[in-house]
Symmetry: C2
């Protein structure tokens, strides 16, 4: 298994970026004078008061203003040249290098232990070898997905229209699929005509496009605590300020929700409807109604991520159904119940937003996966898909009971008994640290999802999310038993 | 045909956003006092001196500072409430609405006539009906693409491994395809081991990810004049400052290139290698070498977009081959020669950048189209693909001669005789405006690409790009003849 090696490489490269002088040049406690000058210049560059290409203060003037010797400034400038932050042009002076550091997502926001970093579970799950166990991942094993229907649809496509195989799709995405999604949404009480639906390449890309469309750098975004870890990763990429509200079995804690809106005035709230990730909770109608009233009062826009819709036995309320796509944007994808290999998601929103989003989609991805959309449309149109869902839901229910029982025997307790879906959000026995157990598990090729990966407030160190469909192998419980015994 | 209608809707909605008061409340020339107050507040909101949620000055204090009556300010605030820019809280005052305007790409940068807006050709080409002519689009008709090979590969996939059909791909993308791309790049003299190659969902998405990775808001980016119009659209989405340098038949004008680097210190240069879009020009080895020397001198990073590689009869020099992926990033896709429906592109860059880009890719798209990558890999591995390219290149050469001849008869002159590819960059007879002709053509369901769509300096109003593979229908020449006669 390659994970350890990959991580080590990353850590090394991160360390290599740190300039040696911060410890190397010190004689006692605190920074040396040279280091002080370097820090001053670095801060001016980081804060953009010195922009790339700008000329630095002359050695003499900086020495005078910082009350250090000329040789200290010369030394500091030389070291900054050596590390590539500035360049020297003989006879002219020193200039800020153009080579500003590229975006390092893992360095935005509070620095986290890699084991509870939002990227951690994603990377480990995606990099896992075929025989690794992935109870921490967020998707079903291939054998749980409608394999035969996909194979049939590929054969249908292979005999189909050449345009479908080779050409770009229309800007909004394949019309028949948008019509079908519109009808499916109507079943959840959401009115969205096909021209208010734009296809994307995934649910993640849908949220990303919306963040680009709605957020300015530094805007505040509200998420649930806990919530799907990639929301945090995505918001880091947008350099948004993150605030969070505890999630209860019926939705967000309403008092704290109201208080947070009043205090932080977030621009956006990103949440799951239907089945909440990671808790498996469902929004109650009363909570949904109050959330929308508060959203209206504080001019909040809501992105409702509904990717688990097809797992539900009984449909939970949708914010978009109450709101009519006014301040709620509804997104979804087919990665969880159909295929994660054929990328296809969608955004349903008000017409003028769809117009602006289409320009943004063309500018940033151009055509948008027509072949995947054709495949998804074909599978969804097949009568077999509903049967597949029936079988899948029953299988998940059985797996939930089985895994829940085995975990409880070990003293690992589900927070709630979820109505549907693949996740069990569990409390570990007191005093156990989920991050530590996840690290130990990784050494045995088992990818777990420790609670704090999902938590902006980092208050779920004693929790863990289990994907029941990926938790049926006894190796998992052997490992957990061992880890619990060790404490 | 629906284009006209779509455009009209857009124009209407843009107008609807303009507050009526700017004309409605005037008694003479210039703005009314109410309008003046509204403009003042709007500018403070736009300039972020009044941020969302902030309290507005009291009516009395604003009236005093602007030297207008209290009733004028009351009137202005009421109108701003009506248009949603501010909200009123009885007993408390007026506040900036949280609902800041979402990103409108078409409103970033200088306002262009829609006919020469970079989005125009994209939207019209993607929205065109099957029987419309698209000499202005940037891709081949489906019948020119390896239809049989794609059908074969779909059948192969339909019999293949379930994981390929249903599961997410690894973070960097499908290994066998990355190895194959690595070998293909080696044929162009570019050394890129598979772990320095990351798959993306398209060439456009590759550039988008790189811009997100490398640019800060307000950074300057250098492009060719003319260049692929979507570079401009994409850079608008990143709110980058755009500078451009004229493109000559051998690459960028070197004197102006050097001058622009010295003056504007761009962070990035985005260009096509191989065959240049829209001119069909190829970089000479001497120019490539000088461009790289200047890039080094001015710490410039270069994105080399190589999506036309497979059209070449003889390989032109690649910047990445000389540079060894140090300051050059090499990107490509298979949309032009294999399929635009199966989205798949790639980025080749230095290892630490690939590491950061992978985090960014996961955060913003998660898995990344495995099914498309499997299909592309299967088609590329098929011996038939090289034969397809041989046939395609010969077909394009013949079409180029034919279309060039017909255009010249009309007095429309190719700027150069391109060595390969699908584009003819043509000068119209003196005094003709390409934008006007494109507008007239659209009324006849013909999508053209007027020169200024490609030009940051807007200096190609007398030029037009023809895609020879989409220019073989006599209706095009009839229409052009008519347009030319009309002058």
């Amino acid at each position: 298994m390659v994970h350890g090696a990959v991580r080590i490489t990353m850590d090394n490269s991160a360390q290599a970026k740190r300039p040696e002088v911060e410890t190397g040049d010190e004689t006692g406690a605190g920074q040396s004078r040279t280091a002080l000058v370097m820090t001053t210049i670095r801060q001016r560059i980081a804060g953009r008061s010195l922009t790339p290409g700008a000329k630095l203060p002359s050695v003499r003037s900086l020495a005078a203003s910082l009350k250090v010797s000329v040789s200290t400034v010369v030394d500091a400038y030389d070291r900054l040249v050596a590390e590539g932050a500035i360049t020297s042009r003989p006879g002219s002076g020193f200039y800020v290098a153009n080579q500003t550091a590229p975006l390092a997502l893992s360095e935005i926001g509070p620095k986290l232990d890699r084991a509870v970093d939002p990227f951690w579970v994603s990377r480990q799950s995606l990099e896992a070898a075929e025989n690794d166990l992935k109870p921490g991942c967020g998707w079903l094993p291939p054998s749980w997905l409608p394999e035969d229907a996909i194979r049939r649809s590929l054969r249908t496509l292979s005999r189909g229209d050449a345009t479908a195989l080779s050409d770009y799709g229309p800007p909004l995405g394949l019309s028949p699929l948008r019509r079908l999604i519109s009808r499916r949404m109507a079943e959840h009480g959401i009115e969205a005509p096909p021209n208010q639906i734009m296809l994307t390449e995934s649910g993640t890309q849908a949220i990303d496009l919306l963040c680009r469309f709605l957020l300015e750098t530094g805007d505040t975004v509200l998420i649930d605590d806990p919530c799907y870890f990639n929301f945090q990763a995505l918001l880091r990429a947008h350099r948004a300020k993150i605030v969070s509200v505890p999630y209860t079995p019926n939705g967000p804690d309403l008092d704290l929700f109201a208080k947070t809106l009043a205090e932080h005035r977030p621009r956006l709230y990103i949440t799951n409807s239907g089945i909440h990730n990671p808790t498996g909770a469902t929004l109650s109608p009363v909570t949904a109604h109050r959330v929308l009233k508060l959203a209206e009062q504080f001019s909040l826009t809501i992105i409702e991520d509904d990717i688990f819709a097809d797992f539900e036995h009984v449909a939970a309320p949708r914010l978009a159904a109450f709101d009519g796509l006014d301040r709620v944007i509804h997104i979804g994808s087919f990665s969880k119940t159909l295929s994660a290999s054929a990328r296809c998601g969608f955004i349903a929103a008000k017409p003028d937003w769809i117009e602006g989003l289409t320009d943004l989609k063309i500018a940033t991805t151009f055509g948008g996966g027509r072949l995947a959309a054709e495949l998804v449309h074909d599978v969804l149109s097949d009568g077999g898909y509903r049967k597949h869902l029936d079988v899948l839901r029953a299988r998940l229910s059985r797996a939930t009971v089985e895994v829940s029982g085995k975990l409880q025997k070990l003293g690992i307790t589900p927070w709630i008994e979820p109505q549907a879906g693949m996740f069990l959000w569990c409390r570990l026995p007191d005093g156990l640290d989920a991050g530590e157990i996840a690290r130990a598990a990784l050494a045995k090729n088992i990818v777990l999802a420790p609670g704090n990966v999902f938590s902006a407030s980092q208050s779920f160190g004693g929790f863990m999310r289990f994907n029941v469909s990926q938790s049926l192998d006894d190796r998992l419980f052997d490992m957990l038993r061992e880890a619990l015994a060790r404490r």
